[in-house]
C-alpha cells in the first residue's frame, strides 16, 4: 500500500458517488476530488483500466468507519459490564460483558478461519482473467459464449454481496438512511445479472424466444418462493427491528449508568469516607451537583466556547479550590474573544478574593448587551479597612483593575460593611479604548484603592 508519512490514511470516504473510492483517494493524495474522478473515468475509457483499479481499491480499501473500528476494537465503556451487573438487569454476566465489543464485529472477527478471503478471491479472479487474455493473445480459442455468462454471474453476485459491506448493511437496516433505495436497486441489479447469466449458461446462449420463456418460468418460480418465504421474512425483519430498538435502549442505559458510576457513585463513596469533615462533604456535594446539572440540562444545540461558559468554568474552579459556593447568573451571551478572556481572568481573581475574604455565597452576574459585557462579583464579607491592605495585595489589584484597563474596560470595587462588589465592564465595540481608560482612572482612584 502506498502509505506516505504525514498523509491522511487511505480510507474510503463517506462522501461517495459509488463507493467513496475517488473521494478517499483524493483525500489521501491531497488532490481535488473532481480531478481524481475525471481521471478515473478517463482511465476507465482507456481499456477498462480505471474500472479494474476502482474495483481493486473498492475491495481492498476499508471505509473510514471500518478502519477506525479495526484500529480501536474495544468496549465503548470499560465499566459498562460492571454497571449492568450492578443494575441487576437480568442479563447473564458473560454475554453482557461480551456485548459491548461484539456488535461492530467485522468479517474478520466473525470468520477467523479465512482472514484474507476477499483478497484471495480477487487474486484468483484477476489471475484467471489475465490467463484468458494471454491465451487469446497466443491465438487460443477461448469459449466466450460460456465465459460471458460466468462473468455475469460473478459480477451480479459481487454487486449483490456488496450489500454485506458493513456500512451498507447498517444503512439498509437503519431505515432513516436514504441509502436504502440504492441498496435495493443494487440488489435487484445483481440478482438480474446472476439470473441472466445462469439462463444464458443453461440455455446455451440459445434463441431469444427460448430465453424469454425460461426467464418467465424463473420469475414465476422466484415469485412462488417469495410468496412462501414472505411471512418468515417479515417476522424475521420485525424481530430484527425489535432487537435493534432494544439495543439502542440498552446503549442509552449503559451510557447513563456509566456516567452515574463515574460521577455520582464515586462522589457518594467519597462523601461516606469523609463524613466527618463537613467542609469536604459540602465541597464534594457542590462539585457533583454542578457536574450533574451540567450533564442533565446541557443544551446540545447550544454553541460552546461562549463567554458564559468560560465564566462558569472559572466559578467552578474557584468553588473547587476554595470550597465556597459561587452562584453564576448570566443574561445574554457572546463568543469569547481575547479581551473577554481577560475579563474572565479578572472576574476569576475577584471571585477568589470574594471566596477568601467574604462570607456566605458569592454571587456572580454576567450581562451581555450589544454595547458591553458586564460582570458583577458580590460577596457578603465584612468589607475592608483601607489602611490594612497588605503590600502583596497590590498584585491582586493589578490583575483586576490593571488588566481591565489594558483591554479598554473598567473595574470598580465598592465595599461596605454589608459586603463587597467588584464591577467589571468591557465595551464590546472596537472604538472603546479611550473612554474605558478614562473611566478606570476615575473609579480606581475613588474606590479601588481601599480594597484588597
Amino acid at each position: 500500500m502506498t502509505t506516505a508519512v504525514s498523509r491522511p490514511p487511505l480510507a474510503r470516504s463517506s462522501d461517495r458517488m459509488i463507493a467513496g473510492v475517488c473521494a478517499g483517494l483524493a483525500n489521501h493524495l491531497g488532490w481535488p476530488v473532481q480531478m481524481v474522478r475525471i481521471g478515473m473515468v478517463v482511465a476507465a475509457l482507456a481499456g477498462g483500466a480505471g474500472v479494474a483499479f476502482y474495483a481493486w481499491l473498492w475491495i481492498m480499501v476499508p471505509t473510514a468507519d471500518e478502519r477506525a473500528k479495526r484500529n480501536a476494537r474495544q468496549p465503548a465503556s470499560p465499566i459498562a459490564p460492571a454497571v449492568s451487573d450492578l443494575a441487576g438487569a437480568g442479563l447473564p454476566p458473560g454475554p453482557a460483558a461480551a456485548r459491548p465489543g461484539v456488535p461492530a464485529g467485522s468479517w474478520r472477527t466473525r470468520f477467523p478461519g479465512m482472514p484474507y478471503g476477499k483478497e484471495i478471491l480477487l487474486g484468483a479472479g484477476l489471475l484467471l482473467a489475465g490467463g484468458i487474455l494471454i491465451a487469446r493473445l497466443f491465438g487460443l480459442d477461448v469459449p466466450l459464449g460460456t465465459l460471458i455468462p460466468v462473468a455475469a454471474i460473478l459480477g451480479g453476485a459481487a454487486i449483490a454481496w456488496m450489500q454485506l459491506d458493513e456500512t451498507r448493511r447498517a444503512g439498509i437496516v437503519d431505515k432513516t438512511k436514504a441509502d436504502q433505495a440504492g441498496g435495493w436497486a443494487r440488489l435487484a441489479a445483481g440478482l438480474g445479472l446472476v439470473v441472466a447469466g445462469v439462463l444464458l449458461m443453461v440455455s446455451g446462449s440459445g434463441s431469444w424466444e427460448q430465453t424469454w420463456l425460461a426467464l418467465l418460468a424463473s420469475v414465476a418460480v422466484l415469485g412462488g418462493v417469495a410468496l412462501v418465504l414472505l411471512p418468515w421474512g417479515l417476522k424475521f425483519w420485525r424481530d430484527l427491528e425489535a432487537e435493534r430498538a432494544g439495543r439502542v435502549r440498552a446503549t442509552e442505559r449503559a451510557e447513563i449508568a456509566a456516567h452515574l458510576h463515574d460521577s455520582v457513585l464515586q462522589t457518594l463513596a467519597l462523601i461516606q469516607r469523609r463524613a466527618g469533615n463537613e467542609h469536604d462533604v459540602v465541597r464534594l456535594a457542590r462539585a457533583q451537583e454542578r457536574e450533574l446539572r451540567g450533564w442533565l440540562y446541557r443544551d446540545p444545540g447550544r454553541e460552546t466556547g461562549q463567554l458564559s461558559d468560560a465564566l462558569q468554568a472559572a466559578a467552578a474552579e474557584v468553588e473547587d479550590s476554595l470550597g465556597h459556593a459561587v452562584d453564576v447568573v448570566t443574561v445574554g451571551d457572546c463568543a469569547l474573544t481575547e479581551r473577554l478572556e481577560a475579563m474572565v481572568q479578572a472576574a476569576r481573581e475577584a471571585m477568589l478574593n470574594a471566596a477568601r475574604h467574604g462570607g456566605g455565597a458569592v454571587s456572580v452576574y454576567l450581562e451581555v448587551t450589544d454595547d458591553a459585557a458586564e460582570v458583577f462579583v458580590k460577596d457578603r464579607g465584612p468589607g475592608f479597612d483601607p489602611g490594612s491592605i497588605p503590600a502583596d495585595r497590590l498584585g491582586v489589584r493589578e490583575s483586576m483593575i490593571g488588566r481591565m484597563r489594558r483591554h479598554g474596560g473598567t473595574a470598580t470595587i465598592a465595599s461596605s460593611p454589608d459586603g463587597t462588589e467588584v464591577r467589571l465592564r468591557l465595551p464590546l465595540a472596537a472604538a472603546a479604548g479611550t473612554n474605558g481608560a478614562a473611566g478606570t482612572n476615575g473609579t480606581a482612584g475613588t474606590n479601588g484603592e481601599d480594597t484588597q
Binding site: T330, V331, S363, E367, F376, K378
Partner: protein, 229 residues
C-alpha cells in the same frame, strides 16, 4: 431579617404565626425543612403527592404552601398540577416553589402557573423563613437566577411608552431585577436605589405579574426555545 409578618397575612392565626404546608415527596427533606424554619412559622400539614397536596391544602387552608416542583401523581406536571388543583384558593393561599433544579423550564412554568416565588432547596433555614414571610405578606420572592431568567426573557432594554404594559419591564423594574440578579437582598436594593423596601417589593410584584400574564411574543419565543410552554 427585619421584616415582620404583615398584619392580616395569616388568616385565622391569632398569634400572628404563619401557617405553612410543606409539599415534597422526600420525607427526609420535609422533616429537615420543618426543623430549619423559624419558630413563628408553623407547619400545619404535609403532603408527598399531588393528590395528597390538593386535599391537605383544601382542608387546612394554609397561608403559604412550600411546593416542590417535582412531585409524583397528578397528570405528571408535579407542582403545576397542585397549583391547578388549588386554583380556587390562589387568592388566600400563596405558593412558594422549591426545587433542586434551577432549570428555566421548572422555574418559569411554576411561576406562570401561579407561584409567588421560587427558591432552590440549598437555601438556608433563615432565608427560607424570610421568603415564607415575604410570600405570606403578598410579595414575590425572586432568587438571583429567577431575576436572570426574567431579564433574559423580557430583554434588558427599558419599555417605551407605546409598548404594551405587560410586555416590557420599566426602567426601574429592570434596575431592581438587575440588582437582585447580582445577589442583592431587597434591603440592599432599596439602599442602592434610594427607595423604600416597600417600593422594591411593589416593583418585584409587578414583574411577577408581568411574568405570569404576559403573552408577549418574545417571551413566548424565549419559552418555546426552552420548551417551556
Amino acid at each position: 431579617m427585619s421584616n415582620q409578618p404583615v398584619a392580616g397575612g395569616g388568616a385565622g392565626t391569632p398569634s400572628g404565626a404563619t401557617r405553612v404546608v410543606i409539599v415534597d415527596d422526600h420525607a427526609i427533606f420535609r422533616s429537615g425543612l420543618k426543623a430549619d424554619l423559624d419558630p413563628d412559622i408553623v407547619v400545619v400539614g404535609e403532603a408527598g403527592t399531588v393528590e395528597e397536596a390538593v386535599a391537605v391544602i383544601a382542608a387546612v387552608r394554609p397561608d403559604v404552601v412550600l411546593l416542590d416542583v417535582h412531585l409524583p401523581g397528578g397528570l405528571g406536571g408535579g407542582g403545576r398540577d397542585v397549583l391547578a388543583g388549588s386554583a380556587p384558593l390562589l387568592g388566600s393561599t400563596r405558593f412558594l416553589a422549591l426545587s433542586v433544579s434551577d432549570a428555566a423550564e421548572d422555574v418559569v412554568s411554576v411561576i406562570r402557573a401561579g407561584a409567588r416565588g421560587y427558591v432552590t432547596k440549598t437555601i438556608s433555614g433563615a432565608e427560607i423563613s424570610d421568603a415564607v414571610r415575604r410570600v405570606a405578606g403578598g410579595d414575590a420572592v425572586f432568587s438571583p437566577r429567577l431575576a436572570g431568567f426574567v431579564l433574559d426573557a423580557f430583554g434588558t432594554a427599558p419599555a417605551d411608552i407605546a409598548d404594551n404594559e405587560l410586555d416590557r419591564l420599566s426602567a426601574r423594574e429592570l434596575e431592581v431585577m438587575r440588582l437582585i440578579a447580582r445577589g442583592y437582598s431587597y434591603k440592599e436594593v432599596a439602599k442602592e436605589l434610594f427607595i423604600s423596601i416597600k417600593t422594591v417589593e411593589t416593583h418585584v410584584s409587578a414583574v411577577l405579574r408581568k411574568l405570569q400574564l404576559s403573552s408577549r411574543h418574545e417571551l413566548t419565543r424565549w419559552a418555546a426555545e426552552r420548551r417551556l410552554l
